[in-house]
C-alpha cells in the first residue's frame, strides 16, 4: 500500500513539474522603479509590460488597442477623451477594477495643488479628470495634443494598495512574484486575466545578466530560454542550432554632433561629415547587413509618419565632403573626438568604422570610451562632447521621438536650435486631421536632414534567440518583451 502511495506521489510530482512551464529571459539591467508611475527606464518597461496595463495597451503593430478600457472616444475638437471600462477586469489582488481606481491612477499622474504629478505630460496637458458613471471616465485636455492617446498606455493601479513599489499590483497577464536586486525579477501567470486565453506559460523569470558573454553561455547551456537584443556577431556565434528571430525595431542609431562646439556649429562641416560617412558600409560590417539605412530621426516602422527618401539625401562622396570642408575653412581637416559608451559594443564598432571613413577626408577622430553613467552625465546631461554615437529607442508617438530636438527640451543634447523646427513639431500635435499631422511630422524630419542635425545611421534589426521548443514570440516596435503569447511545443 505504502509503495503504491509513493509511486502515485512520485508520478504526481513528475506530472506537475512537466506541466508547470517556466521561461527564463536574460535582461541587461535592473528595473529602476517597480511603481509603474515612477519608472522611467525602458529596461523596466520591458519586464513590467507583462504586469501592468493601461486603459489602452500597445500591440505589436505599434498602434494602441483597448485594455482596461473596452472602448474609447475622442471628441471632434480633440480635447475630450471618453473611456468605457471593460467589465470583469481584475487586479492581481482579486478585486475588480472600478472607476475609482482609474480616477486614482490618472490623478496620481496629474497631481494636484499640494503634490506634483508623477507624469509631466499629464501635469502639463490634462485639465480635468472625472467619472461620468460607474463605467465611464472623461479626460479633458487644456491644449490640443493629438499624440496624447498613446499616453493612456500608462498603468492603472488599485487605489487601495499602500505600497506600489514593494507590492506592485496591476491587471496584466502576469502578476509580480518577487524581485531580487541584481539577480532576478519573477512573475507568474494571473489566472483571472480578462483574456481567458492568455497567458500560456506559468512562470517567467527575468534574469539580470549584465555581461553579454555570460548571457550567451547561459543560453547555450539551456539555463536561459530567451536571449533578446543580440547583435549580428553574437547571432553568428550562436549559429543555426537555435531559433533566431530578426525584425525591424523602432530604434535610431545616430552620431550626434554638438552644435554648440566648433567646428560643428558650421552646417557645412556637419554636411561634409554626412557625405563622408558611408552608412551602407557600417550596416554591412557592424550589423552584418541586418539594419535599415536611415536619413532622419525616424524609423520606417513608424510607417504613418516616416518620410521616405532621406536616407540618401547626402550621398557618400569624398569630393563633395572635401569641397564643403574647404568652403568652411578646413581644407586640411581637423582633429576631434567621438565619445562612446563602453557598454555598447555595437556603437564602439560603428565608431571604429566612422574613424576610418573620416580619415579619408582628413578628419582625425579619436575614440573616447566612457562608462555608461559618465555618458549619461557628461554627454547626455551636461552636453560636454564633440561627437557621440548612441541608439535611441523608439516610442509609440512620433512627437515623443521628434521632441528631442525642440530648442527648450531639457535633454536636447544635440544643442540643436531651430525655431522653424519647433513650430512645425508643435503644429503637428495640434492637427486633428491625420494627413495634415503626418505631413508636418514629415516636414520636421526633412528639416533635421537638411540641417544635418546629426548623422542618422540605421535602425539596427532586433535579433532575439529562442530555445528551440519555444514558440509564439511577438516582436514589438517598442522596448518590451511580451511573455503572454509564448508557449512550448
Amino acid at each position: 500500500m505504502r509503495k503504491i502511495l509513493v509511486i502515485i506521489t512520485l508520478f504526481f510530482i513528475t506530472v506537475t513539474s512537466l506541466l508547470s512551464q517556466k521561461i527564463v529571459v536574460a535582461v541587461m539591467q535592473d528595473p529602476d522603479f517597480l511603481d509603474p508611475h515612477r519608472a522611467a527606464a525602458s529596461g523596466t518597461y520591458e519586464m513590467m509590460f507583462n504586469v501592468f496595463e493601461g486603459l489602452l495597451k500597445p500591440d505589436s503593430n505599434g498602434s494602441v488597442v483597448p485594455a482596461v478600457a473596452e472602448d474609447y472616444h475622442i471628441s471632434d475638437d480633440g480635447l475630450t477623451y471618453t473611456f468605457t471600462l471593460r467589465s470583469g477586469v481584475k487586479f492581481h489582488n482579486g478585486s475588480e477594477v472600478t472607476v475609482d481606481d482609474v480616477l486614482y491612477s490618472l490623478k496620481r499622474l496629474k497631481g494636484n495643488n499640494q503634490e506634483r504629478g508623477l507624469s509631466s505630460d499629464f501635469e502639463k496637458f490634462v485639465s480635468k479628470i472625472e467619472a461620468v458613471d460607474e463605467k465611464t471616465i472623461k479626460v479633458e485636455l487644456n491644449t490640443l495634443n493629438t499624440d496624447f492617446l498613446e499616453k493612456f498606455i500608462i498603468a492603472i493601479i488599485p487605489a487601495n494598495n499602500d505600497n506600489h513599489e514593494l507590492n506592485p499590483i496591476g491587471t496584466g497577464p502576469f502578476k509580480f512574484v518577487k524581485y531580487q536586486p541584481g539577480q532576478r525579477l519573477v512573475i507568474e501567470k494571473f489566472d483571472e486575466y480578462w483574456n481567458p486565453e492568455l497567458p500560456i506559460v506559468d512562470e517567467v523569470e527575468f534574469r539580470i545578466i549584465p555581461d553579454n558573454q555570460a548571457a550567451i553561455m547561459s543560453f547555450m547551456a539551456g539555463e536561459v530560454q530567451i536571449l533578446p537584443r543580440l547583435d549580428a556577431i553574437q547571432a553568428m556565434v550562436l549559429g543555426n542550432r537555435f531559433n533566431l528571430i530578426t525584425a525591424e525595431q523602432n530604434m535610431v542609431q545616430l552620431m550626434a554632433m554638438n552644435h554648440a562646439v566648433s567646428p560643428f556649429d558650421d552646417i557645412r562641416v556637419r554636411r561634409a561629415i554626412n557625405h563622408a560617412v558611408d552608412k551602407d558600409e557600417i550596416i554591412e560590417i557592424v550589423a552584418g547587413g541586418y539594419g535599415t539605412k536611415l536619413g532622419s530621426n525616424m524609423s520606417p516602422i513608424m510607417s504613418r509618419y516616416y518620410l521616405e527618401g532621406l536616407e540618401d539625401y547626402y550621398e557618400t562622396s569624398l569630393v563633395r565632403s572635401r569641397q564643403l570642408l574647404s568652403e568652411a575653412g578646413y581644407l586640411d581637416g581637423f582633429k576631434t573626438k567621438i565619445t562612446v559608451p563602453s557598454n555598447y559594443q555595437f556603437h564602439i564598432d560603428t565608431a571604429q568604422i566612422i574613424v576610418e571613413q573620416l580619415k579619408r577626408v582628413g578628419i582625425e577622430a579619436e575614440i573616447e570610451l566612457v562608462e555608461w553613467s559618465v555618458w549619461l552625465d557628461k554627454v547626455y546631461t551636461s552636453r560636454e562632447y564633440e561627437l557621440t554615437i548612441i541608439g535611441l529607442t523608439g516610442k509609440l508617438s512620433a512627437y515623443d521621438i521628434l521632441r528631442r530636438y525642440i530648442s527648450d527640451y531639457p535633454r536636447n543634447f544635440y544643442n540643436y536650435f531651430n525655431s522653424e523646427y519647433d513650430r512645425v513639431v508643435k503644429m503637428a500635435i495640434e492637427r486633428t486631421d491625420i494627413e495634415e499631422k503626418a505631413s508636418l511630422f514629415k516636414q520636421a524630419q526633412r528639416i533635421l536632414t537638411e540641417d544635418a542635425a546629426a548623422v542618422y545611421i540605421m535602425d539596427p534589426n532586433f535579433i532575439v534567440a529562442l530555445a528551440p521548443d519555444l514558440f509564439g514570440y511577438k516582436v514589438y516596435p517598442l522596448y518590451v518583451q511580451d511573455m503572454s503569447t509564448l508557449y512550448y511545443r
Binding site: 535592473d30 525602458s42 505630460d121 541584481g182 534574469r207 555570460a214 536561459v224 553613467s373 552625465d377
Partner: protein, 316 residues
C-alpha cells in the same frame, strides 16, 4: 591587551580613511546616481524628484556627516540604486562569496601544499620538474580565462554544470555545490600554483639547515625528518602567503562572479560602482576592510598555534 587596543584603533582609522577616500572619489568622478538609475528616457521632473529623494542636492559636508551619523548608530544607509537597506543587500550576497572563498581555500591548501612538498622532495627529478612546470603555467593563466574555458568544457560541451544557474544552499545543496565548483576552481588555480612554489622553496630552504643535516646523519630516514620536523618549520611563511591569498580571493571573486553570473559581493560591488551608488559602495568598503582585518587576526592566531615562541604582542 594593549596590542588589541592598538590594532582596533588602527582598524577604525583605516576604515574611516578608506571611506573618506571613496567619498571624495565619488565627488570627483563624473556620473550621477539618479541619472544612472533612470536612463535616457526619464523626464526632467522624474530626475528632479529622484535627486531630491536621494539627497543629491545637499552639500557635501551634510551628506558626509549624515553617513557618519548613520554609521555610528549601526545604519549603513539605503542603496541609491535599489532603495533597499545596504546591509540587506550585503548580507544577502555574503553566502555566495563566502562559499566561493572557502571552497577555493580548500582547494589551495589541500592540493597546493601536498604538491609543493612532493615537488621539494623530488627536487630535480622528474616529478619535481613536472610539478614546477605545470605550476608555472598555472600562475600565468588569469582566472577569468580559465573560468571561461572551464565553463565552456563542463557547462556547454559536457553539460555537467549549468553556467548562470546559481541556486542558494538552502534550496538545493547539490545544485549550489555544482554552480560554485567551477568558479572556485578557476579562482584557486593561480593560487594553487603559487602556493606550490612557496611550499617547495620553503621546504627546500629548511632541508639545507643544520638540524636537518644532523637528523639525517643520526640515521633518521628522509620521510620522518620531512614530516616531523621540516614541515612544521616551513609552515610559517606558507601561512603568511595563505593569508595574502585569502585577501586576494576577495578581489579574484569580483571578476569570476561576473564571468559565472554569481550573485556575490563582487558583482554587487561592480554594480554599485557603475551606478554611482555611494552608500552601497561605502558599505561594501567597510565590509571588505573588516574581512581583511579578521583574516590578519586569524593568521596571527595560527602562528601562535604552530610556533608557541611567537606571542601576539611580539609582532607589530
Amino acid at each position: 591587551m594593549y596590542v588589541y587596543v592598538k590594532k582596533l584603533f588602527a582598524m577604525v582609522f583605516t576604515v574611516l580613511l578608506v571611506s573618506l577616500i571613496a567619498f571624495v572619489a565619488f565627488e570627483v568622478i563624473p556620473g550621477n546616481p539618479a541619472l544612472s538609475r533612470l536612463g535616457v528616457d526619464a523626464e526632467e521632473s522624474q530626475f528632479e524628484a529622484l535627486s531630491a529623494e536621494l539627497g543629491l542636492d545637499d552639500p557635501l559636508e551634510e551628506r558626509l556627516s549624515r553617513w557618519i551619523r548613520g554609521l555610528l548608530t549601526g545604519d549603513l544607509g539605503t542603496s541609491m540604486r535599489y532603495s533597499v537597506p545596504v546591509s540587506d543587500l550585503i548580507f544577502d550576497r555574503i553566502p555566495v562569496t563566502l562559499s566561493l572563498a572557502v571552497m577555493a581555500m580548500m582547494f589551495i591548501t589541500l592540493i597546493g601544499i601536498p604538491l609543493g612538498i612532493v615537488s621539494a622532495k623530488y627536487g630535480h627529478r622528474l616529478p619535481g620538474i613536472l610539478i614546477s612546470m605545470i605550476s608555472q603555467i598555472g600562475m600565468a593563466i588569469p582566472s577569468f580565462w580559465s573560468g571561461i574555458i572551464l565553463m565552456y568544457i563542463f557547462g556547454i560541451v559536457l553539460r555537467w554544470v549549468s553556467p548562470g544557474g546559481y541556486v542558494p544552499w538552502s534550496e538545493d545543496a547539490v545544485g549550489a555545490f555544482k554552480s560554485l565548483l567551477l568558479p572556485a576552481i578557476a579562482i584557486a588555480l593561480p593560487s594553487i600554483a603559487s602556493i606550490i612554489r612557496y611550499t617547495r622553496n620553503s621546504v627546500m630552504d629548511q632541508m639545507k639547515s643544520d638540524y636537518v643535516q644532523l637528523a639525517l646523519s643520526k640515521g633518521l630516514n628522509m620521510n620522518s625528518v620531512l614530516y616531523k620536523h621540516v614541515l612544521k618549520n616551513s609552515l610559517i611563511p606558507i601561512i603568511t602567503v595563505l593569508g595574502m591569498i585569502a585577501a586576494n580571493i576577495l578581489g579574484g571573486s569580483i571578476v569570476i562572479e561576473q564571468v559565472f553570473t554569481l550573485p556575490g559581493l563582487g558583482r554587487l560591488l561592480i554594480n554599485a560602482i557603475s551606478t554611482r551608488d555611494l552608500p552601497l559602495v561605502q558599505g561594501m568598503v567597510l565590509y571588505i576592510a573588516f574581512i581583511i582585518v579578521i583574516i590578519n587576526f586569524l593568521i596571527d592566531i595560527v602562528y601562535t598555534v604552530i610556533d608557541p615562541r611567537i606571542r601576539l604582542g611580539a609582532r607589530g
